[in-house]
Every structure is written in structure tokens, then in C-alpha cells.
Amino acid sequence: MDSQPPSIAPSHQPVYIVDGARTPFLKARGKPGPFTPVDLAVQCGRPLLMRQGLAPDAFDQVILGCVNVVSDEMNPARVAALRLGMGAEMPAFSVQINCGSGMQSIDTGYRYIRDGGADLILAGGAEALSHAPLLFKQSAVNWFAQLNQARSLPAKLKALSRFRPSLFKPVIGLQRGLTDPIAGLNMGQTAELVAQLFDIQRESADAYALMSHQRLAAAQEGGWLKDEVIPLFDRHGKQYGQDDGVRPDNSIEALSQLKPVFEKPYGQVTAGNSSQITDGASWVILASEQALIKHNLTPLAVIVDSQWSALEPEIMGLGPVLSSTALLQRQGHQLADIDLWEINEAFAAQVLACLEAWQDAAFCKQVLGLDHPLGRLDPARLNIDGGAISLGHPVGTSGNRIVLHLVKALQRHGLRRGIATECIGGGQSGAMLIETL
């Protein structure tokens, strides 16, 4: 291959974020919520296209991240595209990389447009964790199968006699989904582990969680999310106007009372300093220069670069350090060159461990190969309007939301450069660098 001339590099064209919108994030309250993933995607997609004056069939492609696909909505991207009236001829596919799915959709669209394969793409994330199914145990499935296969009456009776009431104890699908099959650890346990490795104390995790709630409450009060959040209406006319997991009156005292949920009794990760289980959807519109002109669109930001990294599943929470550092180095930036950061708040301890890692000389040298640690990330620049701890973490949506919110937050403050990054269950992470225009 060496003898061949180098292949011609594809002419990279800039990729713009034109607009975006999401639903309010609705906390799962022990039963299926009023909306499926596609219901959510349709409700925030319709007004988004309308306010940009875009004909639904003007797009080239629809890409949607979704982890817990419900059985009535296989390939939710396509179902959403059709329900949005985007036409029978609209190609649409769904992407799944667990907690990074909503960013994976943007990144895939970004690469298509950058390489000249498309001009206008709707990229989103949708998740209704409240609809996660109850599952039968494997032993129950086997029992059913045996009963079905039994032909003669004695064989049937024999199969029936193997019934045990315990077979019908359901397995909560979500719990299985949040347990890493390789490491055998629950996501909360991975947070316990990174807290230990970087010496994060319960008190600082609780303090971080409190700040998340306070920041979101302030953003809601200030009306800063108005343009980003589109109210939901169910078919009985009930309106859902705001993210409903926020607790503005939260306090350190209340948080410190909570018992650890994953590693009793000595653990430190509680329901209060973890992200919430939530339903929600989010979209962004990606466009090429040509699409901007053709449809008379005003872009908000340009996507500069993106990076995916991976590490051991047990410490998946440290992922953002890897992907963001790679992005910074490739673009020649320091931590401080980035005006605003969105690091998805899977767990308070996990976010704090990432910040510690950047200040940890040994870690930076051994793992990142840096002579000097990257240093301190100014908390005033991080998750300035709250995050998954106060908002909730609809897994397939969060990656999309942090990019969308980063754009809107940079714009609001007249700032230029931002990174959105998330840790991903299974031991990966994604990061995206954007600049406002």
C-alpha cells in the first residue's frame, strides 16, 4: 500500500448547529409515564421544525439515539420521522451507544455533512425510562418453553408440576440495564469505585448535588430554558411545562440524611447525589453552508471536533477525562481556553473524580502522558444551569441535551467555546467541541 499515492483527503465542510429543542424531563414515578420515546421526540420535533420554517421533508436524514426502545417503536428514528410528517422517503436510523446515544446521533450527522454526504440532518435522542419493561426470569422463560413443547397430557402435567411461584417474580429491566455485564457492577458501584480512587468524600458529592439543583432552579426562574424546552401536552390536555425532578428547596441536611443505595451501609452514592431516572427527548438541527443558504437559516454554532474514547467498564465514570483531553490536545487548547463545560452528571462523585484526575500529576503522566497536570477546571464554567442530578438522565437523550444546552448557554453569555462530554456505561465516553458564531 505504501507505494500508492496518498488518498485525497475529503474536502471538509463546516457543520452548523442551527437550532434545537427538547421536552421537559419528566421524572419516572414508579409507573409508565404518559409518553413513549417517539411520543416525546414528536412533541419537541414538531414545533422545532415549525419555528425554523422548515418543511418537514426538507431534511436529508434523521438520526435518533435511544437505548430502551419500546417494542411498538422498533427503529424509533424512522417512526418519529414518519410521525413528524417528514415523508415516506426520509431515511432514518437509530443509534445506541448507551449514555452517549444522543451525542452519537449528532456526531454521525456531523460526519455525514462534514464529508459532503448530506446537507440537513435532524439528530436527536429520546428515552422513556419509565417505560422500561418488567422481564421474566430466564428460568420462567424455560418453564414456558417446556410447557409449550410438551405434547402428551402426562408430559404437560409434568411440565406444569415444575411451576414455582418465584418464577413470576419479575426482573426490572432497567436494573439489568444499569448493571455492567462485564464488570458485574451496577453503575452506582462504578461511581463508588472512582470516588475511592480519587478520594471524593460524601460531603463534597452532596454539596455538588445541591448546587446542581440550585442552578437548575435559578435557570428555570430566570426563564433561560424557555427557548430550549418545549412544553408537552398529553392527550387528556394536561400540560407538562418544566423539568419536574428539580428540588429548589433541597438542603445539605436533607441530602446527608439519605442512605447509600448501591453499597449499603458504608457507600456514599445516594439517590440524592446520582442522576435521576427520567423520560425526555431532544433534537438539534445540523446544516451545511449550502443548507443555510437554501433554507435561509441562521446558525448558532459550528461543530469543531469530536472524540470518542474507551476504558475499563468498572471506571466508566472517568471517561470524560480521556475524550476531552484528546480533544483539547488535538485542538491545542488548555482547560481554561474552554469558556463553558457540560459534563453529564451521571453521579456527583464521578464528575468530581474527573475534575480531580485533571489535577492529579501521577494520573496525568501515567494515563494521559502529560508532563504537567491539566489543572483545575473552574466550577463556575461547569454545568452552569444544573445537570442530570437535578434534571434527570434519560440515557439516550442526555448526550444531545448537553450539546443543545451548551450552545444556548454560550450564546446567552456571549461566550465562544464549549465542550460537552459524558461518561458512558460500559466504559466509554464522548466529547464534542463547539464554537458559537
Partner: protein, 713 residues
């Protein structure tokens, strides 16, 4: 892609036996309305394809050709005869009703029917198996034709009905005999008495069809008939008890009771005639076949049926206004409607548009109102038996739009905010610059003149009135209101929009009250006056019901809302020189107390769960009450015609029937007036005005009806 894949392939979907789709388009052809060809199994495929028509009807020439074809087949008998429609939409929708109007006497009708019956009998007697393949609607004569075949195979989605009763008739091509002979006679009678349509699965269950299939399996099903693999049980055990006279008499007694409860026999004689036919002769289908001809001929010549046939054409006429531009430049259909104001009217209009397949955005400053519109739409979908998937799609089309961003993408913006001139102008000032250049601005106002509303607009030509009636999902008529500078293309597109949402447009001018409210108000006001004279509300309403109105004027006032009625009456009194009396003080105080009628639970009547609570009253209204109620309405109609509020008497009659339920069997107010005689009306009004005051002053049009003769005034 140049076309949708599925639509490009659509022509291939239909099973047309030995024909190719191109063959059906060839002209000239042997028969004007039919295609006939045999396949390699010697099955004759006969496709009904009435020339110059989108649907098949059994006109005289269609039947004549059919008769020739049957005769030709007899001389060279095929192995089977398959009859189906070449029209993509339906099998056959019945008789050619326009020909009814050319039959002036009973003997005329009888001659016609005898011929048609003979033809049907030839089909029944054909010695080869005959198979009707039905897709879409098979109605009236269309279904009766299928009943003459040995087998009926239906494609999924087919519907069946014998709606002749809606024209004051009963089936006339043997249906009264063959339908009760084939299926449960009680169901057959019910279908004929109500005119209701039944869907494919029901028809299959009833035994009305022998197989229900997908289009792609028709060929195999025909072969299965040839191979005698389809066996059908034609014993019809359910019909057996009704061969006994006393059983039929008992059943007929019940049917009569039910029919009388719905319509008065003097006003609508068809149900009684049908019941009589079956009761007397039901033990012998041949007798019924024979007697059906005379009964039908008699009914067709009753004024009731003549008027109902007329109303059928009035409806067609209004419908045609909603589909203008045949052959000419057709207005672009509306794809997206934006509704401003999610009150009772705006919310329901938005919901109706979504139900009818349009994309709709709904703005209101109050999110609760938008939510209410959504829940109403969910309920409407349930009432209209929409499936879960259909309901989902309908709700997906209604976009809550608290940011009012739909203005910029809509083809038609419909304003339905409260009746306040300043408020409306303010709304227009805000939205007009954001609207698409060719978009229509429509107002649902009922009481503000359009020339006042247009004054602040940069482009006044785009403003039209699109006036819906309450309840939106039930009232078929929509007034399309013109002002002097409205662009004709905008008006035409507005009418097209009304047609798109399956409503009947009535073009009217922007005179106060337009047509319907102006004609209705004097009638409501007179009812209020009678109430003041000591008559009970029940007695007054009963007079109108006896006349044939669906409800009395006072119940109607409660239903519409006393506040709205009062508002319209005040406006008309102010703006028109019509001698409308002042509203009584008690009415104003009721309105100010919030006793507005149905919506508040109390008005003139008490209302419980949306139902009026009437008391039994022994005392009836005195003679002459009917004239006092109705003549003011007729008088206002005449004024509207004379002033050219609406183009002609036909449109007026249609509008009043479809907006107010003016008794269809009377053919509409102007038709009724003509029957009474203009002179008589003028005299009666004169007498009433001497006795009760100037509000009865006869309109000038009664004595000088120049309005019919002068089209260009």
C-alpha cells in the same frame, strides 16, 4: 425520485383479470360504460366504468348497455361472470339520482323500474356462476346489483348500505326483497330503515358477503369459485320465523314504534311504506319484488321525497363550491392551518381540521385552553371510532403552539379570538408581517363587519371570513364571507379549504349577521317574545319541532349560548333597519348573572350533563304560533336574497338546511315559501304586523321578486 413509489405502482394493485391497465383507457370502445373480456379459463370479466364520472352510478345508459351485455353473454355462455368496478374508489354508489327528477308521474317510474327489474332477473337467472367483487362503497342500487349475483367477494375496507330512506325512498331494484332473503331480516330492515352503512367485517358476519379478502387474492378466489371450493349456506335460518304473518306483524309493530319516535310519518312516509311492504308480503320474496315497484313509484312522487332529492342536489351544489376549478386553474390545497385562539370555537375548529388530515398549529396565550382542545379532540376521535393508530396520527397533526410560530408556515391563518374589534386588529398587526405572502388570513367572526377588520391590513385582499357553527363537529355548513376588496383567489381558496375539511361552503357577503344568523335571529327573538306573552318554553319549542326543526328555538338559544344570541341580536338591531324588538330585561339580567344556557347548566331551560331538562306541559301553543315563529325567518331570508347576501335561493336553502337543520323534507325556507305562495306570506306578514308590530313588516322582495331574474346587479 419523481413520484412516490407506491403511487407509481398503484395501478398495478387492482386485480382486473385479463385486462391490462392501459387497455381500460383505450377509446373508442365497444361499450361506453363497461369493459368486457374473457380470461383463459373462459371467465367473463365485466368492469363497470361509467364514462365521465369518478364513481359508478346506475344511469339509464349504464343499465341499457348492461342489458345488451347480458344478452350477448347468453348466446355464448362463459364459465363464470365476474362483475367489478374499474373505478379505484368504489364499486357503485347507486342510482343516478339526477334521473329521478325527470320522472314526473307514477307510471313513468313504474315503466322504468319494471325494465330494471327484468334486467336484474336476467342476471339472477344467468346459468353460469356470477361473482360480484366489491371494493369501496356498494350503496343502494350498487348493492342491489351485487345481491343479484351468486357470490359476493369483498375487498377489505368495503362498505355496504341502502341509504334510499335518506331521499324519502326505499330500495327499488329488488333490495327490499333480496336483502331480507339473504341476511337476518331484522338487520336488513334496520339497514333500510336507517340507511346506515356497515363495514366489511360486519357484512361478513351477516352473510352479506361470502369472503372478505385482500385485493391480491381475488384471482385465486375466483378460481376457487370455479373449482367449487367455496361453499355457501344460503338457508338463512333467521328468516324462517318471519315467514309467519303474526311474527312479522309483531316485528313490524316494534319497527313502527321505533321509526315514529325518530321521524313523523306524515313528514317522512318512506319508513312506514317499507314496513308495510315487508309486513304484508314478507312471506314471499317474489311478491315483495313486485310490490316494491309500486311502493317506490308512489314514494318518489311524494313532496317529501321530491324535496329530499332536491336537498341531495343542494348539497352537491355546495360541495362543488368546495372543489372549484375543475378544468380551470385549481387553488392550491391548504396543507397547514394555524388557528389563533383556542376557545370553544377555535379549539374545536383546530381539532376538526386535524381529524380531516390537515396539519394544524394552535396558539393561545393560555396553555390550558390548548390542552382542552387536545382532550376534546381525543374524545372526538373516540366518538368517531378512530383506531388507536389513527388517533395517534390525528393528535400528531395538532401542534400546540404557545409561541405562535405556526403563523409563518401556515397556508391559512384562522383567527378565532373574542369578538373585540381592537383585539382582532392588534392580532392582525402582529401576525400579518410574519405570514407567507400567499397565505390567507381568515376570521371566524360572527358579528364584526369585515371592512372594519381589514382597515389596518397591508394586504386587505387576503382577508376572508370563514364562519363555523357550533358544535363544529356536527354542523356541516361553513359560511365563506366576502368583503368588497377580498381577492377572488383568496375566496376560492377559502372555499377549497372548507371542502378539504369535508364541510359545505356557503359564499356570503359581509352584511351584518351574514346569512344564517341574520335569518335565525328574528325567529329566536320571536320565541323570546312568545315566552313573555306567557307561553311555556316547552310549548313554543314543540311548535318548531312539529314543523320539523331538529330542536325548538329556545333550546337552540340555550345551546348556542344566550350571551352570543344577545350579542348578535343587539348587533343586528344596531346595524340593520329591521325593526327587531329590544331584548327583554330579564334576558339581559340572565346573561349578566351568567345563566347562559347549556354551557353554564342554566339558561331558559335547566341543563344536566349537557342534556336539556324539559317538563311536560299540558297547555299547547295557540294556533298561529307556527306562523309567528317562521314568517320572520322567511322574511329575513327574502331580505338576504334581495340584498344579495347570498347568490341564489338554492344556495340559501342549502345553507339554512345544513346550518340550522331547517326541515329537509320541506326543501329549505325559500322552497317552502314558494309552496306557500309569496302573496300568502306577504298577506300574513301584513296581518301580523298590524297585530304585533312593525317587526313583521313584509320585505319588499315578496311582491317584487326581481332577485331571481337579475343576475348582474
Amino acid at each position: 425520485m419523481t413520484a412516490s413509489v407506491l403511487s407509481a405502482l398503484a395501478a398495478r394493485r387492482m386485480e382486473i383479470g385479463p385486462f391490462s391497465p392501459a387497455e381500460l383507457k383505450v377509446s373508442p370502445r365497444r361499450w361506453q360504460h363497461w369493459h368486457l373480456k374473457r380470461d383463459e379459463q373462459n371467465v367473463a370479466w365485466l368492469l363497470m366504468d361509467k364514462a365521465d364520472s369518478s364513481a359508478n352510478v346506475l344511469s339509464e345508459s349504464v343499465l341499457r348497455e348492461f342489458s345488451e351485455i347480458i344478452a350477448a353473454l347468453k348466446s355464448d355462455m362463459p364459465s363464470a361472470l365476474v362483475i367489478r368496478s374499474a373505478k379505484p374508489g368504489s364499486f357503485c354508489v347507486g342510482a343516478d339520482i339526477s334521473e329521478f327528477r325527470e320522472l314526473h308521474t307514477e307510471p313513468d317510474v313504474i315503466n322504468k323500474l319494471v325494465e330494471a327489474h327484468l334486467l336484474a332477473q336476467h342476471l339472477v337467472d344467468l346459468s353460469c356462476p356470477t361473482i360480484a367483487i366489491i371494493h369501496g362503497a356498494a350503496l343502494g342500487g350498487g348493492l342491489e346489483l351485487a345481491l343479484c349475483c351468486d357470490y359476493r367477494l369483498a375487498v377489505k375496507g368495503a362498505t355496504f348500505g341502502v341509504p334510499e330512506v335518506l331521499l324519502g325512498l326505499h330500495p327499488g331494484l329488488g333490495g327490499t326483497a333480496r336483502l331480507p332473503d339473504l341476511i337476518d331480516p331484522l338487520v336488513a330492515m334496520d339497514m333500510m330503515l336507517t340507511g346506515r352503512t356497515i363495514h366489511d367485517a360486519q357484512a361478513s358476519q351477516l352473510g352479506l358477503i361470502d369472503q372478505l379478502l385482500e385485493e391480491r387474492h381475488i384471482g385465486k378466489a375466483v378460481t376457487a369459485v370455479l373449482d367449487k371450493q367455496i361453499t355457501v349456506d344460503r338457508r338463512n335460518l333467521r328468516a324462517r320465523p318471519f315467514r309467519l304473518d303474526w311474527v312479522r306483524r309483531l316485528a313490524a309493530w316494534r319497527m313502527r314504534k321505533q321509526a315514529d319516535a325518530k321521524v313523523a310519518p306524515q313528514q317522512y312516509p318512506a319508513p312506514q311504506a317499507l314496513i308495510k311492504l315487508w309486513e304484508r308480503h314478507g312471506n314471499s320474496p317474489d311478491q315483495v319484488l313486485h310490490r316494491e315497484i309500486y311502493s317506490f313509484a308512489h314514494l318518489l312522487n311524494t313532496p317529501s321525497s321530491r324535496n329530499l332529492v332536491r336537498v341531495f342536489f343542494l348539497r352537491e351544489q355546495l360541495k362543488a363550491l368546495g372543489d372549484p376549478g375543475k378544468g380551470r386553474h385549481k387553488p392550491a390545497p391548504v396543507q397547514h392551518v394555524h388557528v389563533i385562539g383556542a376557545g370553544a370555537m377555535g379549539g374545536d375548529i383546530a381539532g376538526w381540521c386535524a381529524l380531516q388530515g390537515l396539519r394544524v398549529s394552535l396558539f393561545d396565550t393560555e396553555p390550558k385552553a390548548i390542552g382542552k382542545a387536545l382532550s376534546n379532540l381525543t374524545e372526538l376521535c373516540r366518538k368517531k371510532h378512530r383506531s388507536a393508530a389513527q388517533t395517534r396520527d390525528i393528535l400528531d397533526r395538532l401542534i400546540p403552539d404557545p409561541d405562535n410560530s405556526g403563523v409563518a408556515v401556515a397556508d391559512l391563518v384562522l383567527e378565532a379570538v373574542p369578538e373585540d374589534l381592537q383585539l382582532k386588529r392588534q392580532v392582525y398587526a402582529e401576525i400579518e408581517p410574519r405570514m407567507k405572502p400567499d397565505a390567507i388570513l381568515a376570521t371566524n367572526t360572527s358579528s364584526i363587519a369585515l371592512d372594519k377588520l381589514r382597515s389596518g391590513l397591508a394586504d386587505a385582499g387576503r382577508l376572508v371570513g370563514i364562519h363555523f357553527f357550533n358544535p363544529v363537529a356536527q354542523m356541516q355548513l361553513v359560511e365563506v364571507v366576502a368583503h368588497s376588496t377580498a381577492r377572488s383567489s383568496a375566496l376560492e381558496r377559502a372555499s377549497t379549504f372548507v371542502g378539504q375539511i369535508n364541510r359545505l361552503p356557503a359564499p356570503v357577503s359581509s352584511d351584518p349577521g351574514f346569512l344564517v344568523n341574520r335569518a335565525l335571529t328574528p325567529y329566536l327573538v320571536e320565541a323570546i317574545g312568545l315566552l313573555d306573552e306567557g307561553l311555556s318554553a316547552e310549548a313554543i319549542d314543540q311548535v318548531a319541532i312539529d314543523f320539523g326543526m331538529p330542536m325548538g328555538p329556545l333550546e337552540l338559544a340555550d345551546q348556542v349560548g344566550l350571551d352570543i344570541c344577545l350579542g348578535v341580536a343587539d348587533m343586528l338591531r344596531e346595524q340593520l333597519d329591521s325593526n327587531l324588538p329590544e331584548a327583554p330585561e330579564w334576558l339581559r339580567s340572565k346573561v349578566s348573572k351568567g345563566e347562559l344556557g347549556r354551557k353554564t347548566g342554566k339558561g331558559i331551560y335547566r341543563w344536566k350533563h349537557g342534556k336539556v331538562q324539559k317538563k311536560y306541559r299540558r297547555k299547547q301553543a295557540p294556533r298561529g304560533t307556527q306562523e309567528r315563529l317562521l314568517l320572520p325567518m322567511l322574511n329575513a331570508c327574502m331580505a338576504c336574497l334581495r340584498e344579495k347576501v347570498i347568490d341564489d335561493a338554492d344556495q340559501l336553502d342549502g345553507a339554512m338546511i345544513f346550518a340550522t337543520g331547517f326541515p329537509p323534507f320541506r326543501g329549505g325556507p325559500m322552497q317552502y315559501a314558494e309552496q306557500l305562495g309569496f302573496d300568502t306570506i306577504e298577506q300574513q306578514l301584513q296581518q301580523l304586523s298590524e297585530k304585533h308590530g312593525p317587526r313583521f313588516t313584509p320585505d319588499a322582495g315578496w311582491t317584487a321578486p326581481g332577485w331571481t331574474a337579475a343576475p348582474d346587479e
